[in-house]
């Protein structure tokens, strides 16, 4: 749209003042301050007493942080993998000319409309040993039934994964179903003519042809995993002990309750690293593709 470009459209700049403030003021200056404070000895309030990498050394020697990094990997890998597989299965089954498609879609998707606080509380109760599934099954007659992941430090993280699937599988389904419906009908007909069984068509023709939808669903999941805070707070509060704490929870605790801003900012900077890496790799890939397209 080069023909529209003018040297200095004053009103356009005035109109986008909020965007300038947010882009530069929050996402450049703000991140800059966070990173700089991570090199200082800031406690309750930020100061400019630089201590080099000391905060990072302390951070990586803190068990609570190591546990939270470990947790985000377990939670992230499991919930993303399960969401993608379960979401794709749901999408494929939804694609079988079923009746009541809209009803099923509404059912699969409604948890996503609710707050993660609500999801966390719902599953806190469902997995509560004195109230939820365990008691219900015992009252049906299976007296020795034991299923109480949230009170076991080893298993609590898997409880969070279940809640994450409950909340996110429907969205993955919706995006992947849109991807499936976007594939040219001729291709399915050709597969049928060639006598390729349905499941193979979905696995080896459908999946590779909807890379866009898969990437979309995947990115959406990744962003929400890194940000997972509300769910942990509502469901386990990071417990038992600090068995289910996550980086996002750790940072907030350090800057509010523990009043250790320097180390909190070091942890926040660590959270930024994977995102930066992905953005840089994505940027390079896009740049290379553009160069190829123009060459």
């Amino acid at each position: 749209m080069a023909s529209l470009r003018r040297a200095f459209p004053v009103h356009s700049i005035i109109g986008t003042v909020p965007m300038i403030l947010v882009s530069v003021g929050v996402f450049v200056v703000g991140i800059g301050f966070s990173v700089m404070w991570s090199f200082t000895s800031s406690k309750l309030f930020p100061n400019w007493d630089f201590v080099g990498l000391l905060q990072y050394e302390r951070l990586w020697a803190t068990d609570r942080w190591l546990v939270s990094v470990n947790n985000i990997w377990i939670f992230g890998l499991l919930s993303i993998a399960c969401n993608m597989v379960f979401g794709y299965l749901l999408a494929v089954f939804m694609d079988q000319r079923i009746r009541q498609e809209d009803t099923f879609r509404s059912i699969f998707l409604y948890p996503f409309a609710m707050s993660l606080i609500v999801t966390g509380l719902v599953w806190q109760w469902a997995l509560d040993p004195n109230l939820g599934l365990q008691t219900a099954v015992r009252k049906f007659g299976w007296e020795s039934f034991t299923f109480a992941p949230l009170v076991d430090p080893q298993l609590a993280i898997y409880g969070l994964v279940v809640a994450g699937i409950w909340q996110g599988a429907g969205v993955t389904m919706a995006i992947l179903l849109a991807g499936l419906r976007g594939i040219d009908a001729e291709i399915w007909k050709a597969a049928k003519v060639d006598g390729i069984p349905n499941w193979r068509a979905y696995l080896f023709i459908g999946l590779p042809m909807m890379r866009g939808a898969i990437a979309t669903a995947f990115v959406l999941q990744c962003v929400s995993v890194v940000r997972v805070y509300d769910l942990v707070i509502a469901m386990t509060g990071g417990g038992p002990g600090y068995a289910t704490t996550m980086p996002a929870v750790y940072v907030i605790q350090l800057i509010t309750v523990r009043q250790n801003v320097g180390q909190g900012m070091a942890a926040a900077t660590m959270m930024l690293m994977p995102i930066l890496l992905v953005v840089i790799i994505g940027g390079i890939l896009m740049w290379r593709r553009n160069r190829k397209a123009t060459a």
């Binding site: 749209m1 470009r5 459209p9 009103h11 356009s12 700049i13 109109g15 986008t16 909020p18 965007m19 300038i20 947010v22 929050v26 996402f27 703000g30 930020p46 749901l90 089954f93 694609d95 079988q96 000319r97 079923i98 009746r99 009541q100 498609e101 099923f104 879609r105 699969f108 998707l109 948890p111 409309a113 707050s115 606080i117 609500v118 509380l121 719902v122 109760w125 469902a126 109230l131 219900a136 009252k139 429907g170 419906r181 399915w188 349905n198 962003v223 890194v226 940000r227 509300d230 509502a234 996002a248 940072v251 907030i252 509010t256 900012m265 926040a268 959270m271 930024l272 995102i275 992905v278």
Partner: protein, 307 residues
């Protein structure tokens, strides 16, 4: 959901595109398997909601003795009344009602302001790009991926220095900031999809930046604005982190109040009241979801296609 229910419905609304599955024969083992899978999956999603509704209508003795899955023997709406007006957090026993009002006070201005900002951004980026505008936009899109924790502390310091930390305007500014990347992207893509002749006709008639925006662009923007409103209302209503950090105790939104009522109570846990409170908190986004239907899905799909 039983098989007869499904058989009774004759005309399930179709999506824009056709499904690909094989044309169904009347009844075959395969069809039964398809529905069995979908119904079991639906139960997984529905059972928690069922338990909450049923339990919220029971009295505490019945919850302690009876089965979780049973329908209430003596249905009562008292837990719902308690949840809205009498449930306690610490010494305050006003239920969720203050939180509900706060959420309304936060959500309405935040949605309006963030949408105004984003629509102007999208319009300016599409039709009036200036030097560096695309760099700004790139930074904004990058911001959509940044974990909130990275910028929260500088924002706390920034807002305190102008006296807006822990205030209603403060939390509204925060929601406007964090809604901006996605909404700007939505509006930019939408305006870029409009025929450029519309804009050029306005220019030929001598209209400037604001005139074209108000008289040509805004009337065209209804569909994208519906999507934006749905995204923002549910997103801001459901927010917990920003509310607890930036709103201040007297402005805590409903989600924060809910978490306080449920997770900080001492003594006997009133599950029926807690579950009623949870459903009440989820009610607004759920109503938006069920009323908006397809638009909601469109919003997610549009919102998900970032960058």
């Amino acid at each position: 959901m039983s098989a007869t229910d499904m058989a009774m419905d004759s005309s399930a609304a179709r999506d824009d595109a056709e499904p690909h599955g094989p044309k169904p024969r009347r009844v075959s083992p395969g069809r039964i398997g398809v529905y069995a899978f979908l119904v079991v999956a639906a139960l997984f999603f529905l059972i928690p909601l069922y338990i909450m509704i049923v339990t919220s209508l029971k009295g505490m003795p019945e919850i302690r003795l009876g089965n979780l899955f049973n329908l209430p023997a003596e249905p009562t709406v008292q837990p719902w009344i308690d949840a809205m007006w009498h449930a306690c957090t610490g010494r305050d026993c006003y239920g969720l009602s203050p939180g509900f009002l706060n959420s309304v006070k936060i959500t309405v201005p935040s949605v309006i302001i963030s949408i105004i900002c984003a629509s102007i951004n999208g319009y300016a980026l599409t039709y009036w790009p200036y030097k560096g505008a695309n760099v700004l936009f790139g930074l904004l899109v990058f911001g959509a991926f940044v974990p909130y924790q990275v910028v929260i502390y500088p924002l706390i310091i920034g807002l305190s220095s102008v006296g807006l930390f822990a205030s209603l305007p403060g939390i509204i500014i925060i929601h406007t900031i964090f809604g901006m990347p996605l909404l700007t992207l939505l509006y930019r893509n939408f305006y870029a999809s409009l025929p450029v002749e519309l804009f050029k006709a306005g220019r030929v008639d001598g209209a400037g930046f604001w005139r074209i925006f108000f008289y040509i662009m805004i009337p065209m923007s209804v569909p994208i604005t519906i999507v934006a409103v749905i995204l923002q209302v549910t997103g801001i209503w459901n927010d917990f982190l920003f509310g607890v950090v930036f709103a201040g105790r007297s402005n805590w939104p409903m989600t924060v109040q809910l978490n306080n009522i449920v997770n900080t109570t001492t003594g006997v846990r009133e599950y029926n009241v807690n579950m009623a409170a949870t459903i009440l908190t989820a009610a607004v986004p759920l109503i938006v979801y069920f009323v908006s239907g397809r638009w909601f899905v469109r919003g997610i799909a549009a919102g998900a296609v970032k960058g």
